[in-house]
C-alpha cells in the first residue's frame, strides 16, 4: 500500500467521523425542534440564534456532570459497554459510498472508505456486534432492573436482526452484487430498488427502527413504565455515549437505507458533477431522519409481547416470502412480478395483523 493511499484513507475516515459526530449533536436539536413543531410547542430556542447552540450547551453539561459508578459494578465491563455501543455505530458507515469519484488535484478520489465486495455482510456483522454494548451494560451494572432491561433489549435486537438480514437479501438479489458501490450503480441503470421491492424497503425500515431502539420499539429506553433499562446506572458522559450511539446509528442506518433502496448518491446531473453525490445523500438522510422523528411523534410504544410477536410472526415470514418472490421473479425473468406480488404479500401481512387485533378485541 503506498503512502498517499494510506493518508487518503485516514483523511476520509476522519472527515466521516467528524461529520457523524457533528451530525449526532445536531440530530438531537433537529429531533427536539421537529417534535416540538409536531406537538405545537417551540422547542429549544434559548442558546444561540434559534437555539442552534443547544447541542454545545448539552455537551458541556454532560461532560461536567458527576460520573457515578455503582460500588458493586463490574468496573472494566461497565466502562467497556458504552464504548462497545458507540464504535460499531461509527464503523458501520465504512462501506457506504457517499458519491462517485472526485478529481482532486489530478488524483482520483472515490468517496467510499472501504470498497469491498462483501459490503452488505459487513453491515450485518457490525450491526450484530452492537448487541454487546446493551447486554454488557445491563449486566455490569449489577442491578436487577438494568439486567432485565439489557436482556429485553438484546432479545428485541436479535429478533429483528432476522428480518433485517432477509431484507438485505432482496436488495442483493435484485442488484446482483454485495458491493455497496455496485449496488448504487445497478440502481442508476435499473431504477431505485424501492420501486422494485417496495415492501422489502418498508420491512427494512421497520426492522432498523427496532434495531435502533427507536419509537415505537423503544422498549429498552422505556423511562416511564419500565425504569429505563440497561442504562439505569449510567450517568454523565457514559450515559451520553449510549445516546450518542443511538443518534449516530440513526444517521448511519439512514445512509444505509438510502444506499440500498433509494439509489444512494443517485440523482439528476450527478454523473456530470460528482460533487452533487454527497449532497443528494445528505438530502435523503435528512428526509429519512424526519420520517423517524415523525414516527416517534405519532405512534405509542408497543407492548413487549406484541413487539416480539410482530417480529417473529409477521416480519420474519413476510421477509422470507419477499426473498422467495424476488428470487422467483429473477429466475423467471419477469421483473414486473416482483413489486406486484410483494405488494400482495404486504397487504396480506397487514390484513392478518388487523384480523388478529380484531379477534382479540372481540374476545374481551
Amino acid at each position: 500500500m503506498d503512502a498517499a493511499l494510506f493518508w487518503e484513507m485516514v483523511i476520509k475516515a476522519l472527515i466521516l467521523i467528524f461529520v457523524l459526530l457533528t451530525g449526532f449533536a445536531y440530530l438531537t436539536y433537529y429531533e427536539r425542534r421537529g417534535l416540538a413543531r409536531i406537538q405545537s410547542r417551540v422547542g429549544p430556542n434559548r442558546a444561540g440564534p434559534a437555539g442552534l447552540l443547544q447541542p454545545v450547551a448539552d455537551a458541556v453539561k454532560l461532560i461536567f456532570k458527576e460520573e457515578f459508578t455503582p460500588a458493586q459494578a463490574y468496573k472494566a465491563v461497565f466502562i467497556l459497554a458504552p464504548i462497545l455501543t458507540v464504535v460499531p455505530a461509527i464503523l458501520i458507515t465504512a462501506t457506504v459510498p457517499w458519491g462517485g469519484t472526485l478529481n482532486i488535484g489530478g488524483r482520483e478520489v472515490s468517496l467510499v472508505i472501504a470498497d469491498i465486495n462483501v459490503g452488505v455482510i459487513y453491515i450485518m456483522s457490525v450491526a450484530s456486534i452492537a448487541v454487546y454494548g446493551v447486554v454488557l451494560g445491563g449486566w455490569a451494572s449489577n442491578n436487577k432492573y438494568s439486567m432485565l432491561g439489557g436482556m429485553r433489549a438484546s432479545a428485541q435486537m436479535v429478533s429483528y436482526e432476522l428480518a433485517l438480514g432477509l431484507s438485505f437479501v432482496g436488495a442483493v438479489l435484485l442488484a446482483d452484487t454485495m458491493n455497496m458501490g455496485d449496488l448504487v450503480k445497478a440502481q442508476m441503470e435499473g431504477g431505485w430498488l424501492v420501486l422494485w421491492q417496495p415492501v422489502g424497503a418498508i420491512v427494512f425500515f421497520i426492522a432498523t427502527l427496532a434495531e435502533l431502539n427507536r419509537a415505537p420499539f423503544d422498549m429498552p429506553e422505556a423511562e416511564q413504565e419500565l425504569s429505563a433499562g440497561y442504562n439505569v446506572e449510567y450517568s454523565g458522559m457514559k450515559f451520553a455515549l449510549f445516546f450518542m450511539a443511538e443518534y449516530t446509528k440513526m444517521i448511519s442506518i439512514s445512509a444505509i437505507i438510502a444506499t440500498l433502496f433509494l439509489g444512494g448518491y443517485d440523482g439528476p446531473f450527478v454523473e456530470q458533477t460528482p460533487l452533487l453525490g454527497p449532497l443528494y445523500m445528505f438530502l435523503k438522510i435528512f428526509i429519512l431522519l424526519f420520517f423517524m422523528i415523525w414516527i416517534r411523534a405519532s405512534f405509542p410504544r408497543l407492548r413487549y409481547d406484541r413487539l416480539m410477536a410482530f417480529g417473529w410472526k409477521i416480519l420474519l415470514p413476510l421477509s422470507l416470502v419477499l426473498v422467495f418472490i424476488t428470487a422467483t421473479g429473477i429466475l423467471l425473468e419477469m421483473q414486473w412480478l416482483i413489486p406486484v406480488l410483494s405488494l400482495v404479500a404486504g397487504f396480506i401481512a397487514v390484513q392478518s395483523i388487523n384480523l388478529s387485533l380484531r379477534r382479540k378485541a372481540n374476545a374481551r
Binding site: N117, I121, M124, I129, V135, L136
Partner: protein
Amino acid sequence: MTVNLVLFLILATVAVISALGMLLSRNTVYSALFLVLNFATVAVFYLLLGAPFIAITQVTVYAGAIMVLFIFVIMLLGADPLPEGNTLPWQKWLAVGLAVILAVEGTFLISTQKAAGIISSPAADAGNPKLIGQLLFSEYVLPFEATSILLLVAMVGAIVLTSRKKGEER
C-alpha cells in the same frame, strides 16, 4: 520485516493472550468476552490471508450470533465466579498429554514444511462471495444441506423440550 509480519505478530500475541484469558478467568462472563476477542482476532487473520468473506462471516456468526446467545445463557443461569480448585483431578493430566501430542504434531508439520505451503498461497479468489456461493450450492451441496437439517433437528428438539401442553402448569 514486512507490514504483514508485524501485523501478524501483534495479532498472534492478542490471540494467545485472549485464549489464555478465556481459560484462566474465574468469571464466566469474562471468559466469554475473551472468547469474543479471540474470534475477532481470528477474523482479522482471515483478512490478512485475503479472505474477507470468511472473516466477516466469522464475526457475524461466531461473535455476533453464537456468543451473544452464550452470554444470554450465562447471565440467565447466574454468572457467579467459579470456586477455586479443580473439580476434575484427572483433567489436568489429560490436558498436558493432549498438549504434548499437539506440540509434537505441530513441530513435525513445520519441520517437514507441509503447513507452510498452505498458508503462504491463499487462493486468489477466496474472497469472492459469488464463487463461494456457487461452490456451496453445487459441489458441496450435500454437506450444506446435511448441516441445515442438523440445525433444524436441534431447533425442533429445543422447541419440543421447552413447550408445554395446554393447561399444564408453568
